[in-house]
């Protein structure tokens, strides 16, 4: 195990954990983006180049923007931010549940007889190979994902649209309204 893995893991976990505990939504969103970038670094470390860049492009480039826009569009007043009385109980419950899950998962991972790769040489997948797989074995999945993304796009637009219909074909006035200085 290399130092690089430990650093990547610590940065990713740390920024994710801090992001989940911060009050300031923008800060936590930015830290989460750092955590996603850390995951991309993990993919790069593991030799999955294409996936790493895809993760960067999708998460750091696109999802981050959607998240930040959503945060800004739903700005709350300060009063809303006040902690509700049941929040502490919920946090304790969440920590207990999360800790229990963590314990179970750690126990399972450490004790399970995991298969170890027979060959020491790492497998690498070239982009060409991936493209052929995508168009060959996984062509159906590719089509379905395309349909899913289209549906998601339309659904998101319908959900977020205000329902207020602009009259069709209205373009901003071609001629700027005359502004005359009253003198």
């Amino acid at each position: 195990m290399s130092i690089a893995f430990l650093i990547i893991a610590l940065v990713t976990l740390g920024s994710a954990a801090v992001a989940m505990s911060l009050r300031n939504l923008i800060h936590s969103a930015l830290l989460l983006i750092a955590s996603w970038a850390g995951i991309a670094a993990f993919y790069l470390w593991a030799g999955a180049e294409f996936v790493a860049f895809a993760q960067l492009l999708v998460y750091v480039g696109a999802v981050s923007m959607v998240v930040l826009f959503a945060v800004l569009l739903t700005r709350q007043s300060r009063v809303d931010m006040a902690i509700a009385p049941d929040a502490l109980r919920r946090i304790v419950a969440a920590l207990l549940a999360g800790g229990a899950t963590l314990g179970v998962l750690f126990g399972a991972v450490v004790s399970a007889p995991l298969p170890i790769a027979a060959s020491a040489t790492p497998v690498t997948v070239s982009v060409r190979q991936m493209g052929q797989e995508l168009m060959g074995t996984h062509a159906a999945a590719l089509l379905i994902v395309g349909a899913l993304l289209t549906v998601a796009l339309l659904g998101a637009i319908i959900l977020a649209s205000t329902g207020r219909e602009d009259p069709p074909g209205v373009a901003p006035p071609a001629v700027a309204p005359p502004t005359r200085k009253t003198s």
Binding site: E49, F50, G61, A174
Partner: protein, 430 residues
């Protein structure tokens, strides 16, 4: 530069750099001494060193050469831009500042230096309520992301800093980080005008990211690779001995090149798409609360982004470092690359001097209703082009005619539709 022959960050193979060194740069048989000059110069410096050190020093040299090369290019570009703008507007441009401590003026060559000193010595003002950390991080992140994109550009034959299998994807993944920096700048300033301007800038960047990414998909389709060197390889050779196989010289390639350059203009916030920081109308958009060296960093990142996108356009469409004619191959490849890059950068400056600024609604409408559909149709044109690659004789003419029609038809139809809403302005009181 090739110096870093580590092609892939593959873990476990801890001796990758020894492997890469056991096969040092092998010059192609026809390479002239001039062509290999960067490699020879590097070997002169580092060949005496033991193995791991040599690899580290080679990488460091590559990074330094790229960084300093583009930093000097940035300094010169600021001067050239002002000179060209002056020339277009029939005035001399900066011509007073010469070499320090001498009487030499050299057409204002000292201007970048003077500007740099001015920027460095200005007071760095941070608003009291600003988010100090993010306010500081925004320009740094922006510059870092735009420098990262230089890593995969092939500057010449065998001169690519990092040879990546998914190089083009890397380029645009690293470029995606700039949006984040713009947001950070706008939000950390705690100024509603900055924030609004940042949101406008983001809307613009996101809108134009789409045609930018879609426009080069045909190139990847044709070249069959995502690596930058592979794309340059695919454009080798000449038809009839004098027409280079550059992508821009095909119908789909020309359309894609134009879409790419227009989107690149918008992505690098250049006029006529410089709404986010329209200096004559808004204050400076999301840069309002920045001053001194941080402002200079934003400025630098903008120019770096412009250079990187132009270099990418050269690689994708203009044959990369390849010479336009066979007998011109005696000129080294990096010179060709630089010449093409300068030509595109000059185009950027020329456009800035010529076109008026767009309005925000015109801007987004242009992206969504014109560029994106054009890029999608262009994908179909490229598919047609690759399906008919073995047509010959009169069929070849038909192939060209159909492809040209596929490009020109939608252009005319959509252009008409787009411009119908915008009748020529009539000025009643002017």
């Amino acid at each position: 530069m090739t110096l870093v022959q580590l092609s892939r960050v593959t873990p476990g193979v801890s001796d990758w750099f020894f492997q890469s060194l056991s096969s040092p740069f092998i010059a192609a048989a026809g390479d002239s001494r001039l062509e290999r000059l960067p490699i020879i110069a590097r070997d002169l410096l580092t060949s005496r060193l033991p193995e791991p050190w040599r690899w580290w020093l080679n990488s460091l040299l590559a990074i330094l050469v790229v960084l300093f090369g583009f930093a000097i290019l940035f300094a010169l570009l600021t001067l050239v831009e002002r000179k060209v703008l002056g020339r277009v507007q029939n005035r001399p441009g900066p011509n007073r500042t010469g070499l320090p401590f001498t009487k030499l003026r050299l057409f204002g060559l000292g201007q970048p230096l003077a500007d740099g000193i001015k920027m460095l010595t200005k007071e760095d003002i941070v608003p009291r309520s600003a988010d100090k950390l993010l306010h500081f991080l925004a320009p740094v992140a922006l510059l870092a992301f735009s420098i990262l994109t230089f890593a995969v550009l092939p500057f010449g034959r065998n001169l690519v800093p990092v040879e990546l299998d998914a190089g083009i994807l890397y380029f645009f993944a690293a470029g995606a980080g700039t949006e984040l920096a713009v947001f950070m700048a706008g939000w950390a300033s705690r100024n509603k005008y900055s924030l609004l301007a940042a949101m406008r800038a983001l809307a613009q960047l996101i809108s134009y990211e789409l045609p930018l990414l879609l426009s080069f998909v045909p190139v990847i389709m044709m070249a069959g690779t995502l690596s930058t060197t592979g794309v340059v390889e695919a454009q080798a050779g000449w038809k009839f001995g004098f027409i280079p196989h550059w992508h821009v010289l095909t119908p789909w390639g020309f359309a894609a090149f134009v879409i790419f350059m227009v989107s690149a203009l918008a992505e690098s916030n250049r006029s006529p798409f410089d709404l986010p920081e329209a200096e004559s109308e808004l204050i400076a958009g999301h840069l309002t609360e920045y001053s001194g060296f941080k402002y200079a960093l934003f400025f630098m990142a903008e120019y770096f982004g412009m250079c990187a996108l132009s270099a990418m356009a050269v690689t994708l469409f203009l044959g990369g470092w390849r010479a336009p004619l066979p007998f011109l191959e005696i000129v080294p490849s990096y010179v060709w690359f630089a010449l093409k890059l300068f030509a595109l950068l000059f185009g950027f400056i020329w456009i800035r001097a010529t076109f008026p600024r767009l309005r925000i609604d015109q801007l987004t409408r242009f992206a969504w209703k014109f560029l994106v559909p054009m890029a999608l149709i262009n994908l179909g044109t490229a598919a047609f082009w690759s399906l008919t690659c073995n047509w010959s004789g009169p069929l070849q003419l038909a192939r060209w005619a159909i492809a040209l029609a596929l490009v020109a038809g939608p252009f005319v139809v959509m252009g008409r539709k787009l411009s119908r809403d915008y009748a020529p302005r009539t000025y009643r009181y002017a």
